[in-house]
Subunit: 155 residues, 2 copies
């Protein structure tokens, strides 16, 4: 099932990571496609960790475990823009998570937003290394490859 | 803490993935360093999923969840060479897993062996694409980057 996340929000959250740098249209297109896929992957993964716990309600600790497995830094402390709570609840539901605590939904939201922001930070570093003021598609793809497992599933 | 895994076994398991192709010394060196790190990462991740479940004993379902999160294909059906059971129990213990069922230890073992074998399969594909009969360091690094999250932690 396709996950719907507003492009404008995806872009704003990603831009938190790139500061004043410019962003090419091709790079934006990669992000618009990547972030919903990554959100769905994170929801499926949350469901797998929930199932392994033998419980019925997704709790904050399941998301903490996912954060650790994915080695995401700063998810719990993330204080940037978030996606709408109803939207992320729907994504979790589509992944089979019928019940989730408010804390779990919030941490899931922070996790996917932090990955999006971090993607911007990494892509910006690659653009800087290459002495460019514009973040290009290749920078974003390289960042995705570094951050995600099974990069080819996301590109 | 450093994880000890016998280089000869690492190499044999990796070679299951590359068939008759040759393997450069530099490529071997990357694998000898990567596999123990990856094994430790998989043990830490198993511990995180165990903790999220609120249980004390690592069970097969915790490893199934990790397999799903890492999108590893064929871990449960893996029937190649395995590492010694006492060795992998020790790695899990070093990661804080005090108790583990025999099934969990076996699936953990299969998981890390399958990732090693798959690394060989991918590296071999990259060598083939490049019309080389020898798997080189760059092929292995590219395979690690594609398979693992946070590739820079493993290279």
């Amino acid at each position: 099932m396709a996950v719907e996340l507003p492009k404008a929000a995806i872009e704003r959250i990603f831009r938190q990571g790139i500061g004043e740098r410019r962003l090419s249209q091709e790079a934006k297109d990669v992000i618009y496609e990547f972030v919903p896929k990554m959100a769905r992957y994170a929801a499926d993964s949350s469901k797998a960790i929930l199932d392994a716990s033998g419980k019925k309600t997704l709790m904050e600790e399941h998301l903490k475990a996912l954060t650790q497995v994915l080695m995401v830094d700063g998810a719990e402390e993330y204080d940037g823009e978030l996606f709408g709570r109803a939207t992320v609840r729907r994504i979790l539901k589509e992944a089979g998570v019928e019940r989730a605590s408010a804390d779990a939904v919030d941490l899931y939201n922070k996790l996917i937003c932090r990955i999006t922001e971090e993607l911007g930070e990494r892509a910006a570093e690659y653009a800087d290394e290459d002495d460019r003021k514009t973040v290009q598609r290749e920078d974003v793809e390289r960042a995705i490859t570094c951050i995600m497992p099974r990069a080819d599933e996301f590109l």
